[in-house]
């Protein structure tokens, strides 16, 4: 079913699901929503499964003309969405009717907003995922970001009988200051003790070189004990590499799968979604936790995701 005609694509709008897993050994990055929590929430608000494909909207939103009357929801960074110029809320089920125009204002907080449509976006599965990896031209529409004239289609689905809203306590609020937990290693022994202390107790600023591949950070220099290069090793999103310059690089979802810099620490997976909302000039701080603590947080996070569906506030369909 055709749901949107792309009038303006925005700065960088891509189709994403929760990622393309199982192909790292072939050099294929995981990709998927940078803020997977927000995409999951958007899907649940329209009765989709968490891994259905939605739109990831970066900084400047697109302008979309509805081609049919549909139910949808928007989450993530606060971006003042409007239907025919009239403000509509995020984090709840909405309806847009044929020919109405969905537009977005300035990204007021965070960096990425998510839009899920009842049924989920219908593009071919590529290596088990619909996520767009534009550097490798995989997934989404022809492996690229949206452009003017694209038609977005979704799978046919029964309309929701109810509408849903995310309770305030589960809505993340993004400021310009991010605090994430990290587990030290795997190559923490290549850094001096002072360097590790510096890394864990200094704020780092996100530079202009920040995209879906990763963020170059700036702040107190992290010194290596000896050499700064290693023979290439595997990479995963969340890894923090430190090259010769002593300035850390946070690896994100479209990064290459191998790299030759030592990794001082890795951001725990429950905190990675939030970091997907960071933009240039934002500040990041990293707090060390043990692996046991990290796994406790992971269990809590997975429990939250499992129960999120039942936390939604349900009201009769007024749409």
């Amino acid at each position: 079913m055709k749901v949107f005609n792309v009038l303006k694509p925005g700065f960088l709008t891509t189709i994403q699901d929760l990622g393309r897993y199982g192909f790292l050994k072939y050099g294929v990055p995981i990709s998927g929503a940078m803020d997977s929590f927000s995409l999951t929430a958007a899907n649940l608000l329209v009765g989709n499964s968490p891994n259905d494909a939605g739109l990831e909207i970066t900084l400047i939103g697109p302008e979309l003309q509805a081609l049919s009357s549909i139910q949808f929801a928007m989450t993530g960074g606060v971006t003042s969405p409007k239907i025919n110029g009239k403000d509509v809320p995020m984090w709840q089920t909405l309806r847009i009717r044929e020919d109405e125009i969905l537009s977005f204002g300035k990204m007021e907080s965070g960096c990425r907003a998510y839009l899920a449509v009842k049924g989920g976006i219908n593009v071919p599965l590529v290596l088990g995922s619909r996520s767009t990896y534009f550097r490798g031209r995989l997934g989404g529409i022809d492996g690229r970001q949206l452009k003017t004239g694209d038609i977005i289609e979704v799978f046919e689905a029964q309309p929701l009988k109810f509408e849903y809203r995310m309770p305030e306590e589960f809505v993340p609020h993004f400021t310009n200051h991010f605090k994430a937990h990290v587990v030290l290693g795997p190559q923490v022994d290549m850094f001096t003790e002072e360097a590790v202390a510096t890394f864990l107790h200094s704020p780092y600023k996100v530079t202009l070189e920040a995209d879906r591949m990763g963020y170059r950070l700036e702040g107190s220099i992290i010194e290596h004990r000896g050499k700064a290069d290693i023979v290439s090793d595997a990479l995963l999103p969340g890894a923090i590499q430190v090259p010769q310059s002593g300035k850390p690089i946070l690896i994100m979802r479209d990064a290459q799968t191998t790299g030759g810099y030592p990794k001082i620490a890795v951001v725990i997976s429950p905190d990675l979604s939030m970091l997907g909302q960071a933009k240039p000039n934002d500040i990041m701080e990293f707090h060390g936790v043990t692996l046991e603590q990290a796994h406790r947080k992971l269990r809590e996070y997975c429990k939250l995701l499992q129960n999120l569906d039942s936390m939604l506030v349900r009201s009769p369909n007024s749409l």
């Binding site: 590529v126 290693i230 595997a234 692996l291 796994h295 992971l298």
Partner: protein, 234 residues
């Protein structure tokens, strides 16, 4: 300085979702054999909770689901597997591939530089590059890109000082003692000496990459005409 090939494997946590088993910090056949042997053995062991394995030059990354298997339990299982490998010391022999390459000219713009750098003729560089069997140490950089080694010292050449913004799909390059093939157009700093008509990556096929870690590759010089006819790999 630390020894670059560890006496025994190091088991390191990689965040809350992966275990890294590190064998050394060196490009060597010995380390790579250990990595591939353990990779195969873990696949065969079908450990509940192990989601994905990534072999590299130096290490094997094991992505796991901590809700299904604890870190200590996983380390214990894999150490047990590693012990048995020490006794048997065998490795499944990888597949062998012949990759046709048209060397030089517009297809290999750096062949002249590599020759000059070593005081060789272009023909000698081609002969040296194509007479060796190379091991696929790992795939990375871009989808399907094989890191092959090791190139003979006589033609090992440093990377370009300024990487090219676009290296054509199929380009065969040299970077120090590594050689590799660009599966798609990408930016890159390797010295490009030729090009293959073979497609190394196809996301619509399973597996999507032609080559896998542990395979062996030999290059076969072909003419421009043969390149254009697009020979297929054995």
């Amino acid at each position: 300085m630390k020894p670059e090939s560890h006496a025994s494997a190091r088991y390191l946590s990689f965040g809350d979702t992966a275990l890294l088993i590190e064998f050394g910090d060196v490009i060597s056949l010995e380390v790579s054999r250990k990595v591939i042997a353990l990779n195969e053995a873990i696949i065969n062991a079908k450990i509940q909770g192990v989601e994905e394995l990534v072999p590299t030059y130096r290490s094997l990354l094991v992505r796991y689901d901590a809700l299904k298997i604890g870190y200590n339990q996983l380390v214990f299982r894999i150490k047990g597997i590693e012990m048995t490998l020490k006794d048997i010391r065998m490795e499944k022999v990888g597949r062998k591939f012949t990759i046709p390459v048209v060397y030089g000219g517009e297809y290999g713009p750096d062949l002249g530089y590599v020759a000059q750098f070593h005081g060789l003729s272009e023909e000698q560089v081609v002969k040296i590059h194509s007479e060796r069997e190379y091991r696929v140490y790992m795939l990375g950089f871009v989808a399907g890109f094989p890191y092959l080694g090791e190139v003979a010292d006589e033609i090992a050449t440093p990377r370009l000082e300024t990487p090219r913004l676009k290296v054509p799909s199929g380009s065969v390059g040299i970077a120090e003692r590594q050689t590799g093939i660009y599966p798609c157009e990408a930016p890159g700093g390797w010295r490009i000496i030729g090009r293959t008509p073979i497609k190394l990556f196809n996301p619509l096929q399973q597996p999507p990459a032609l080559l896998a870690s542990g395979d062996t590759v030999k290059f076969k010089p072909i003419s421009e005409k043969e390149f254009k006819n697009g020979i297929t790999a054995k």
